[in-house]
């Protein structure tokens, strides 16, 4: 019901410009690496999508987490807040999920273990989000700074917990979670893609529905776009913003299900790192639209997996760099599309 506030044509134009620019810059980088761009792109597509099931599975594996962190950034942006605390939220979820899973008795049935671990992941992430939201609404502390501080703090605390309590026999891996808490994998040539993809899709649908079909979504979008109008119609702006940050934290925390329950089945140092920041790219490229975020996550997953697939030809860091390029391109393309749109209308 909330009409897509933005003109869909202009949105499509912005994405098109951004993708073209990224393609151009990516190709330039490939030239710098001494390879022919057309050849490399083709190999990337071929290997990732068609020939190697493992690569394709990895696309889904990475995309699953990105969808969740992308939604996390997106829901905060809807309320006018810039959430870059995804890193901390994901790691908090990972720690909570792994610890809970490992603490469960071995014979715990899945019916209990799985929902429990899912909830714990979400709550851990939500706690971080709540802290950021409260600091912003009650103390006026800018969420970008507090997010970054919390990212570092959570990473440090997670490492400490690992070293003190979890890591076993000199490894950086914790005790395995109860078998009941494991999520089955999807195959794909032994890739890590797992059933948490269902959770991610459920989150997409849920968020779409909440955003466009409920009064909560209406209030959320009003707060982000015109807090004065929201306040005048009786909406409590501060409360909505805090709830939005809590939801953002919960979504990012859920990414832990992909890593812990679906892949490693234990806590591991560095598990889930990077996906929080990359969620920003997914949200921006997806134009803050839940389904757009799915497409963007697949694209970014493709870039990541594809980068590995062509690691013989060009350094995999190229695709990492390209992720930053994509964000910059999208951020710049939006205003361009708006200006071009204004000129022609």
């Amino acid at each position: 019901m909330i009409a897509s506030s933005r003109d869909p044509n202009r949105e499509a134009l912005a994405v098109a410009i951004a993708l073209l620019a990224s393609l151009a810059i990516g190709s330039a980088l490939m030239l710098v690496a001494g390879k022919a761009p057309g050849h490399v792109w083709w190999l990337m597509v071929q290997r990732t999508l068609f020939t190697d099931a493992y690569s394709l599975g990895q696309v889904f594996y990475k995309a699953t987490a990105l969808v969740l962190t992308g939604l996390s950034v997106s829901i905060a942006l809807d309320a006018g807040l810039f959430n870059i605390g995804g890193e901390g939220m994901v790691i908090a979820g990972v720690v909570a999920c792994a610890v809970t899973g490992a603490a469960l008795p071995q014979g715990t049935p899945s019916i209990i273990a799985i929902p429990l671990c899912i909830v714990v992941s979400a709550v851990a992430g939500a706690a971080i989000g709540a802290l950021i939201g409260v600091m912003r609404v009650w103390r006026g502390a800018h969420e970008v700074i507090t997010s970054i501080m919390l990212n570092a703090i959570v990473a440090g605390v997670a490492l400490w917990i690992g070293n003190e309590l979890l890591f076993q026999n000199g490894t950086t891996t914790g005790p395995p979670i109860a078998p009941g808490a494991e999520l089955p994998q999807l195959g794909f040539g032994g890739s890590s893609a797992n059933l948490s993809v269902v959770l991610a899709l459920a989150a997409v649908v849920a968020l779409w529905w909440l955003r466009s079909r409920t009064t909560w979504g209406q209030a959320l979008l009003a707060v982000g776009r015109d807090p004065a109008a929201a306040r005048a119609t009786g909406i409590s702006v501060g409360r909505v913003q805090i709830y939005a940050m809590i939801a953002a934290g919960a979504l990012a925390g859920l990414a832990a299900t992909n890593f812990v329950m679906g892949h490693k089945h234990a806590f591991e140092e560095g598990l889930g790192r990077g996906v929080g920041f990359l969620g920003i790219s997914a949200a921006l490229l997806g134009r803050m639209n839940p389904f757009g975020i799915v497409a963007a996550s697949l694209l970014l997953g493709f870039l990541s997996s594809g980068g590995l697939a062509v690691a013989q030809e060009v350094p995999k860091e190229l695709t990492e760099m390209l992720q930053g390029v994509v964000v910059l391109a999208v951020a710049s393309a939006g205003p361009i599309a708006r200006r071009y749109g204004k000129a022609s209308s």
Partner: protein, 500 residues
């Protein structure tokens, strides 16, 4: 010294049509008119801040091509303007602001002392005390304004324009300013000051130009006959009839204010007011005399002392949501920042905060569609598509959305509408007035705040006038329809008639 004739329009309204201004050198010339008459626009064009559509501008005998006129050229032609919300950078000191663009340096370091000395000397000569080294944002508005005036003169202004200079001054400062203006004129500077306060005009101006609805309607050589000036400002035609009957004497009180005060700039000072069910009460007055605070206080968007009650229930301390739920409707002054979410659709805006239409959680899209279509038809909102984005609508249609949302609330007890037809085309004005009348007929008490006296005279049973945060006059019923009513209200608005 200067002679102007200008046209200026914005997409939906004509602000100036052949507005003329002629000022003799070395005089103090007052430019007066009601809100929206075009005074600020006129002087901003002369100062190079706004572009004109067409017209002529002659300064000191030289014809100026308006197409290329801008602030820099104006400065070079020794034209300076001091506006209400100053142009100085707040975190810089007065001296720093004064030298900006032509900073004197000694060995690469800023050398501010000579400028400071010159400014201080100039200030002394004019009898204006200025604090040279303080940050501008720490100064009172009056002190900052004085500093801007001295700076303008320091850089050699020969024509000094002051836009509503006394709006931010205490009475004692006002006296000083008026004296300064006369002194400057005697020394050869030409002064144009924009105001709606006729007592100041009488005290300081050599000549007066009156603007109404974008046209120059009168000029006066001397300024003593303030009554004549006031009449020229508001016009002398008879007001139209309000077409709905006044509520009977036994009508309940819909909205009551007792001792309501709001602190701060543009304050409200202990307002007592009542609106009966079925009554249309207008609040007249020039912008900036507390009307905005009045609307915000009633809506619960700003803190206030005193009591506000709605149909007998005390609303003090209640949140905006609670007040709306209790039967209050609020049409905010600024529809673009506070009335509508511009990037949302018409349907979304019509149902924002209306849980009675949407449902408490899941949005009942069928109900919303029906409601939206009904409002669109009722108010003739164009384009007539409920999914159209509000930003793309004209001002009048945007305002109709706000009216449609607010006046359709169930169990409406009182309406507070602030400047409901500002920037709205005539057709939409008629519709909006119709809606306000219908609300009153349906039993609500309607309070309309407007800077447009004509509107209130046509619409309301009773009109009160606000000046400096207080209610200073009132006309009602038959007395509102008689010949001298408009003039009387105009005099209250401009402070030429004492409080009733």
């Amino acid at each position: 010294m200067i002679s102007v004739e200008l046209d200026k329009s914005y997409p939906n309204c004509r602000v100036l049509t052949g507005a003329k201004l002629e000022v003799a050198p070395g005089t103090v010339h007052a430019l007066v008119g009601e809100n929206g008459a075009g005074k600020s626009t006129l002087v901003k064009i002369v100062a190079g801040i706004l572009p004109a559509d067409r017209g002529t501008l002659t300064i000191g005998g030289a014809n100026i091509p308006l197409a290329s006129w801008d602030r820099r050229l104006a400065r070079r032609a020794h034209v300076s303007i001091v506006q209400q919300h100053g142009a100085f950078a707040g975190s810089l000191s007065v001296v720093e602001n004064a030298v900006l663009g032509a900073e004197p340096t000694k060995h690469g370091v800023l050398d501010l002392k000579p400028t400071a000395t010159a400014l201080a000397a100039l200030g002394d000569k004019l009898g204006l005390a200025i604090d040279l080294w303080a940050r501008v944002d720490r100064l009172s508005l009056g002190a900052a304004q004085r500093a801007e005036i001295v700076t303008a003169l320091h850089v050699g202004a020969k024509l000094l324009i002051l836009d509503e200079p006394t709006a931010v001054l205490a009475p004692v400062e006002v006296e000083g300013l008026l004296k300064m203006m006369k002194g400057l004129a005697q020394a050869g500077t030409t002064i144009v000051f924009v105001t709606h306060k006729l007592d100041e005009v009488r005290a300081a101006a050599h000549a007066v130009t009156v603007l109404r609805a974008g046209k120059t309607v009168a000029t006066f050589e001397r300024s003593e006959d303030t009554a004549a000036i006031a009449r020229a400002m508001v016009g002398g035609e008879l007001p139209g009839q309000s077409s709905i009957a006044e509520p009977g004497g036994d009508a309940k009180i819909a909205l009551a204010l007792r001792g309501v005060s709001v602190a701060g700039e543009g304050a409200l000072a202990s307002i007592d007011m009542e609106v009966r069910a079925g009554e249309l009460v207008g609040v007249a007055g020039v912008d900036g005399n507390g009307q905005r605070e009045l609307a915000l206080a009633i809506a619960g968007l700003v803190a206030h002392t005193g009591t506000i009650s709605l149909a007998g229930r005390d609303l003090s301390g209640r949140t905006p949501r609670e007040r709306l739920a209790a039967g209050l409707a609020h049409v905010p002054e600024d529809r673009q920042h506070g009335g509508l979410v511009l990037d949302a659709s018409i349907a979304d805006n019509l149902t924002l905060g209306r849980a009675d239409i949407t449902g408490r959680f899941r949005i009942d899209r069928g109900a919303v569609a029906k409601f939206a279509d009904a409002r669109i038809a009722e108010l003739d909102i164009r384009p007539a598509s409920r999914d159209a984005i509000a930003r793309s609508l004209s001002g009048g249609n945007q305002q109709k959305i706000v009216i449609g949302r607010e006046l359709s609330r169930p169990n409406l007890a009182a309406v507070i509408a602030a400047q409901p037809t500002r920037g709205v085309d005539l057709g939409a004005v008629a519709r909006i007035h119709g809606q306000l009348r219908a609300a009153a007929k349906g039993g609500a008490g309607v309070l309309v705040i407007s800077a447009d006296l004509d509107e209130l005279l046509a619409l309301c049973h009773r009109v009160v006038v606000m000046l400096r945060g207080k209610i200073v006059g009132e006309r009602a019923g038959a007395a509102l329809r008689e010949q001298g009513a408009r003039a009387a209200l105009g005099e209250w608005m401009t402070g030429t008639r004492g409080a009733a």
